[in-house]
């Protein structure tokens, strides 16, 4: 490593204090900070500017670097997450190694949170500490990496499909991994979609076809990501393709196989409201367009017990010897779009534990409404197939209930319940619908108007309040609740109850996140790097998220996120070369004993240990965990050495 700043003739540090209009100057005496800085050992220049990040402000820094031959710069301004890049670029343009410039955060960590003279005193201390840091910094060079130009998209719901199409349209190869036999996700199950009531499959299937025909998209359905190693731009993924036992290219969808199959199991696509054979296609427009033999429910493949389906398959598409396949790929970026499940109604003790057949969840109701559903779009209740005359919809079922269920709002239930009530009324003209709600959240374009339409319908009664109990009584479902607006107790003998169950992350999200070494929030949804400024990125560079996997959302939002994530991924795939900050952890191989204490501590899996520890510079996110863990002081962060930190603390705490 090159010699640290001072250099042989001692350090020449410049300090630049920003007013940030009134943002800093409102509480901090900026002039005084600059004066105090000017007197610090090693500081040869200190000045102020109204807006240091403006062009003239940056020019001031550049000129001083040249004219004062600065060996280090401290800009006392806003958080480094705002303008560190700006000023380091400026320093580089003026010929100073950018890593010899540091930000002293006197806004977010000072002027915004303090008042009175103490704020100025603290600003001075922050500047003093950063001057000490800069004096110990070494010039560094960013780490460069080559990368793969393929994108992996995990989850083939609408979000995954959209992301795949956008990346592919930008000219990059995409591998789209879907766990079920078809892409389409939940949207394929929906009947019509709010707020426009267009048929869900009609707008979805063209996208599915686009994806299947796209020369740049390779769909691996019935597959799961098994292992992910590597790092930004260079992820190695192992994908396990389950055998479908049907050769997709040969299958002509005649369906004879399913007819002769003696097995009947609940059909997942219809949420268990209908049955399917062991060899099946989820729905006619499925992509890939082929039947799938579900080995778990087949009477037996090894040894072959039944074999009826192959006998009737004229296309000779069935291959009982098909083997599981492991696909290994190098990808540059990963988009996770694994979507959601509904919180199981079995968890709702107050609503019958899922044991009352005519208490169903929203997705089941979607299937009852759907023309392709088990009742061909006629609303008939599961227990006896009768058309329900009175239907109770319960919103927030399992949502917004921190004591018993999920604390969060599932965001879309108000909307789809209004949709359900309206579609039910279109379907059963003399039917009556009751909607229990806590409050209505319809914050989207045309959403409020849509809910109002439902509320204005004189056979849809919106009741504000919670339902206390739902239970079966003869062939009716009793609903006990309270209308909190009138204070009256309400008892409804309903034919059908629809629970707007909370949205939860798809099963297996946590496992997948672990394989990807990305984080999930407390409720299990994927966690973004920053809730406002980096909403599509995971903390591990090169991994993005889209759709309901990140949190409850509707289709427009899922699609928008998907396009955003695709743009982010394309940013990586299209880069000439990738660079990574060199301010990462570093092992002193002369001190490292190979004790391996550090490796499991690294949240990014950046450390491997043989004789000594090695840090993968690309994976390291500079959290410093390993430095704290290393018992022998062999691990350190570049430009954040123990000695620097000690001097910074001393400078910050010094009297005067």
């Amino acid at each position: 490593m090159a010699a640290p700043n001072p250099g042989p003739k001692g350090p020449r540090v410049g300090v630049f204090v920003c007013y940030c209009g009134k943002n800093i100057a409102g509480t901090v005496d900026v002039k005084k900070v600059a004066e105090a800085a000017a007197g610090l050992p090693g500081v040869v220049y200190a000045t102020t500017h109204e807006y240091m990040c403006s062009d003239p402000g940056q020019e001031l820094v550049k000129r001083a670097i040249r004219e004062q031959r600065l060996t280090g710069v401290v800009v006392a301004a806003c958080s480094p997450s705002m303008h560190e890049v700006t000023f380091r670029r400026a320093a580089q343009e003026a010929g100073l190694n950018p890593y010899l410039l540091e930000i002293a955060n006197v806004r977010e960590q000072c002027s915004w949170v303090h008042e009175g003279p103490a704020a100025t005193d603290k600003a001075v201390r922050i500047v003093r500490a950063m001057v000490e840091k800069v004096k110990g910094n070494h010039p560094l060079t960013p780490v460069e990496i080559g990368h793969s130009r393929t994108c992996l998209v995990i989850g083939g719901g609408i979000a995954g499909i959209q992301a795949a199409l956008d990346v592919a349209d930008a000219g990059f190869d995409v591998i789209l991994v879907e766990r079920s036999p078809t892409i389409g996700g939940r949207m394929a199950q929906l009947s019509e979609t709010f707020p426009t009531l267009d048929c869900s499959q009609c707008i979805l299937t063209p996208k599915m076809v686009d994806a299947s025909r796209h020369p740049k998209i390779r769909i691996l359905a019935y597959s799961e990501v098994e292992e992910v190693t590597g790092f930004l731009g260079n992820y190695r993924v192992r994908i396990r393709r389950k055998p479908a036992y049907v050769i997709a290219d040969k299958c002509n969808l005649c369906g004879e196989c399913a007819k002769v199959c003696p097995v009947r199991v609940p059909n997942e696509f219809d949420q268990g409201l209908s049955e399917r054979a062991a060899i099946y296609i989820p729905f006619p427009q499925a992509v890939p367009s082929s039947y799938t033999l579900d080995a778990k429910n087949c009477l037996g493949l090894v040894p072959l017990t039944c074999g009826e389906c192959a006998k009737v398959c004229e296309a000779k598409a069935i291959d009982y010897d098909m083997q599981e396949e492991i696909v290994e790929e190098e990808v540059g970026a990963i988009i996770v779009a694994t979507g959601y499940d509904l919180y199981p109604k079995e968890a709702m003790a107050e609503y019958g534990h899922g044991t009352v057949p005519d208490v169903i969840d929203g997705l089941e109701f979607e299937r009852l409404l759907s023309a392709s559903g088990p009742t061909k779009g006629q609303v008939r209740r599961p227990s006896d197939g009768k058309v329900p005359r009175e239907v109770v919809f319960i919103q927030c079922s399992g949502s917004r209930d921190p004591e018993l269920h999920k604390p969060y709002c599932s965001k879309i239930c108000c909307m789809y319940t209004a949709k359900h009530a309206l579609l039910y009324r279109h379907n059963v003209h003399d039917g009556k619908a009751y909607v229990f709600y806590i409050d209505i959240r319809a914050g989207g374009k045309d959403y409020e108007e849509f809910v109002n339409r439902a509320m204005e319908d004189d056979r849809i009664l919106y009741l504000r309040g919670k339902v206390a109990k739902v239970f079966r009584e003869e062939d009716k479902v009793m609903v006990w609740g309270v209308d909190t607006l009138t204070g009256k107790r309400i008892e409804i003998r309903a034919d059908l109850v629809v629970l707007a169950q909370a949205m939860v992350p798809a099963e297996g999200t946590w496992d997948l996140a672990r394989k990807l070494r990305i984080a999930c929030g407390s409720e299990g949804f994927l966690k973004e790097a920053h809730p406002k400024l980096r909403p599509l990125e995971a903390l591990s560079a090169g991994i993005f998220m889209a759709g309901a996997a990140q949190g409850p959302k509707d289709i427009p939002e899922a699609v928008a996120q998907a396009s955003g994530a695709a743009a982010k991924a394309v940013g990586i795939l299209s880069a000439d070369k990738l660079v990574h900050s060199p301010e990462v952890a570093e092992v002193d191989e002369d001190l490292c004993s190979g004790c391996k204490l550090c490796a499991p501590q690294c949240p990014y899996g950046a450390i491997t240990v043989d004789e000594v520890a090695h840090v993968n510079e690309i994976l390291c996110e500079s959290c410093g965990t390993c430095v704290a863990a290393c018992p022998s002081g062999a691990m350190s962060l570049r430009n954040c050495q123990d000695e620097q930190v000690v001097r910074m603390v001393q400078a910050a705490l010094a009297e005067g």
Binding site: L591, C595, L597, A628, P631, S632, G633, A634, D642
Partner: protein, 320 residues
């Protein structure tokens, strides 16, 4: 012929005996040096030492902690008569086991050892050379009283390190001052045990467990100081199924071994699933460490007094 002195201040004497571990090599060494002062071996007194001209001794090996005023005086004389002074063994190097006495003030210590009514009084004839030497308020490592050129660490120093010192001294090839005869890397480097399952989910004391012969002792719940401690001992203790107690002192950049080890243990501890729910269970694991200072600061307390200071509840009072 190089002139050698060996002296023993406040210690157990094990360091003096440790030379015997050199075996036949010791005869070689003895045949090549002249022992001018070594109370345990040759009859020499303080007056003999004081009578020597300045720097008459080439190499003075001093073991033991500094506990009394007399200890300090003796090492000052030795310093003035010697070209090179070696802190020999953990007590001289760091303060050693006797240094744990620093957890108490001198006065509390006397009461603790001799009982409540004890009062040190000068002998009837008044202060004279026969009086008991005064106890220092705190024990000190050798470097607390005089400049030290080299350290041969250990409790007692491993024979290989002693041999290394003599070989280099006799060859006229001594390293720059400040050198510690030991490795820069931690004991783990020499330890053959497998380090795989890096987590701590319970803490056990050595007598509570017959450890697995292959796996790292830390992974089995024994507080092994190996990761913070200089190698050079060939991991003798862990090889014999005993956790390292840290006698060779911290590696050059570990700093206070207590803090380094606490930091490492806090990183290692795992109880149950991730997340806040596990914190209290993890605290319990760490709290179950019996005698934390006796375990983590067994030899180092006087050299890293910060912790000791924060542990001593009563301020140190002036002597009688």
């Amino acid at each position: 012929m190089p002139k050698v002195a060996v002296y023993w201040t406040g210690g157990c004497g094990g360091c003096d005996v440790s030379f015997l571990e050199l075996g036949p090599k010791l005869l070689d060494v003895l045949s090549q040096v002249e022992v001018v002062f070594w109370p345990a071996l040759v009859d020499t007194k303080r007056q003999d030492l004081e009578a020597l001209p300045g720097k008459a001794i080439d190499l003075a090996l001093i073991n033991g902690t500094l506990r009394t005023q007399e200890n300090v005086e003796m090492v000052e004389v030795l310093r003035s008569k010697s070209r090179y002074v070696v802190a020999f063994g953990a007590c001289a190097h760091l303060g050693g086991v006797p240094g744990l006495a620093n957890l108490k003030s001198r006065e509390e210590l006397l009461v603790e050892v001799f009982g409540g009514g004890f009062r040190p009084t000068p002998p009837p004839g008044g202060p004279s050379e026969h009086a008991l030497p005064e106890l220092l308020p705190q024990t000190l490592p050798l470097a607390g009283a005089i400049p030290v050129d080299y350290v041969v660490p250990g409790c007692p120093p491993p024979p290989a390190l002693i041999a290394d010192l003599f070989e280099r001294a006799l060859a006229g090839d001594l390293p720059p001052a400040g050198h510690v005869f030991g490795k820069d890397k931690a004991v783990c480097e020499e330890c053959p045990r497998k380090k795989e399952d890096r987590k701590l989910d319970k803490i056990v004391r050595p007598h509570e467990l017959q450890p697995d012969g292959e796996r790292c002792l830390l992974d089995q719940g024994m507080i092994c100081m190996g990761p913070v401690t200089r190698g050079g001992c060939e991991a003798a203790c862990p090889k014999a199924a005993m956790p390292c107690t840290g006698c060779l002192g911290p590696t050059p950049k570990a700093g206070d071994p207590v803090l380094a080890m606490i930091s490492a243990l806090a990183s290692l501890v795992r109880a149950g699933e991730e997340g806040e729910a596990a914190f209290s269970a993890e605290d319990k694991v760490l709290d179950s460490l019996a005698d934390p200072l006796g375990t983590l600061a067994k030899y180092s307390l006087p050299s890293f007094p910060r912790l000791a200071r924060s542990c001593v509840p009563t301020p140190v009072r002036r002597g009688p």
